[in-house]
Symmetry: C2
Subunit: 317 residues, 2 copies
């Protein structure tokens, strides 16, 4: 049994590689929900959906998010209303593009949550609808909202990530609601019972960070440190995608595999880094972390599968 | 100034005729919201939307509801989830068809209501977005839910109307929340200040009934009885569309223009009936209601305009 801690795109790609080399039913993914957002009254879980769509081979490869073959009639129609909204309102906004087919996922999730179902249960139902055998779970059924402080004040994560295309400097990250959040059912057990724990190549601050911050998860991870392998999302000082490198630097972490090693040292005995960072292997090990060097850039399924195989080999060695 | 009391399709058609003969800015419509429903977390106001779309010449003429040139990707995608929902859940249901473009209206409305805007204000904003000059207002900003008792128990109005295509017998109608509902801002004033009050050819029980049941509206209507003209939705004992005839019969009202006259006698001095019911004019007048006979079937814009002209002429006579 393998338990992975996951964010969005990087995690989804790694998981698709992992599921090409181990049976899906042996894998549990604990997914960040700090990115979740309620828009137009709909509950949107971007990281869960990116993983679900990717593993269902339904992801929109061109966009990197949403569904393949998507149409945009609802968003086009929504833009009619934007000029009628009062200045202080955010209604009618189409900056967070929701495709027509993607909307169905949010309609279903919102409907179920309003019926009193937990996000865990709904996540399971959505995964089943897509024919997935992996066990997908949100980090928590309780709302946690990742918020970032930028020049003009504190804004929601999606406003930063999508709205400003993460092009503004961040001086602080706050996880609103984290004190009240309990791990979703099965999260602690899946960490305790796993033969191998993998921390996916996701943003250490805003993807893996929120998962670790949920009460009890950091301790559960720390107790499995010997069996845990993290994959660096930073290659040669840069994030493959997204703002991980800038966020690390802005928040006082070295934006390198060494900085990643420092962040993960409490919870992972092993860090997988890219060949481009080979000369930093010694510095990684100086952080008390075993270092594995292998190609980590996932151009497509073959590279993702090779990375998964390298991680499994590292686990056995 | 003309104030009309309105339901959905029949009212929308009459209003489009009325607005072809009087300036839109001289007309206020007080619209039934007992049919409103929250589905998938979205607030849907079918009667308001039917009127808005019809007056904007954007109605789907083929369906009689929704938007012209509609696409259905979201509904098609939603059907994927239905089999994954637990038996007791209604999530993933697609019986209430929401087109992709129509969804935008519900997204906007829901977003604004969550921001704390009143339904009146949102209704105004939506009407403005469609370029309408008529003043459209919901009967109330407070939630009222029309529920009907059928064989298996009490169900929501849309479950009856759309879900069962109103093909089951109704033994009772209940307006949940009506005791707490106050008239929307401007409703009482628009009735008090109107030169002419028109009760549209809508369902007297489940379209006009809820409007009349909101605290203060019946009294406001009654005080304007002399200036009020109702149009019978029943022609030759049958509803033009929908279950008005059956509902009237099932609930103990004569399903004829005479039954309509009895229902409207307290609030309208005049009833307009179709030529097909000419021989019942005397019976209508026996109810204490002045009777005007004219063609009332609105096949299209010319007939709707002619009906509006006949109503205006009756008001002057």
């Amino acid at each position: 049994m393998i338990t992975v801690v996951a964010g969005g795109v990087g995690a989804a790609r790694f998981l698709s590689g992992l599921l090409s080399v181990v049976p899906a039913r042996d894998v549990t993914a604990i997914v960040n929900t700090g990115d979740d957002v309620v828009l137009h009254g709909l509950h949107i879980s971007p990281d869960l959906d990116t993983i679900t769509y990717t593993l269902a081979k339904a992801i929109n490869a061109e966009l990197g998010w949403g569904l393949a073959g998507e149409t945009w009639s609802a968003m086009d129609a929504l833009s009619r209303y934007s000029p009628s909204a009062p200045r202080h309102s955010t209604a009618g906004g189409t900056w967070f593009r929701l495709g027509d087919r993607d909307l169905a996922t949010h309609l279903y999730r919102t409907h179920r949550l309003r019926e009193g179902a937990s996000l865990s249960l709904v996540t399971e139902e959505i995964a089943r609808a897509w024919g997935l055998d992996i066990r997908l779970m949100p980090m928590s059924d309780d709302p946690v909202e990742t918020r970032v402080t930028v020049d003009e004040g504190e804004i929601g994560f999606q406003e930063y990530f999508v709205g400003r295309q993460h092009s503004v400097a961040v001086s602080a990250v706050r996880l609103a609601g984290i004190e009240q959040a309990r791990p979703a059912p099965g999260v602690i057990e899946s960490l305790a019972g796993a033969e191998l724990v993998i921390i996916c190549p996701s943003n250490p601050i805003v993807s893996i960070g929120p998962v670790r911050a949920v009460a009890g998860i950091e301790a559960a991870l720390a107790s499995r440190r010997e069996s845990a392998i993290a994959i660096s999302p930073i290659i040669a000082g840069a994030a493959v995608k997204g703002p991980a490198d800038r966020l690390m630097a802005e928040l006082g972490h070295e934006p390198s595999v060494v900085g990643v090693a420092r962040l993960y040292a409490p919870v992972a005995k092993t860090l997988v880094i890219d060949e481009a960072d080979q000369d930093l292997a010694g510095s990684v090990e100086a952080e008390g972390v075993r270092c594995i060097v292998t190609p980590t850039l996932m151009h497509g399924p073959p590279e993702a599968a090779a990375l998964a195989r390298a991680v499994l080999a590292a686990a056995r060695s």
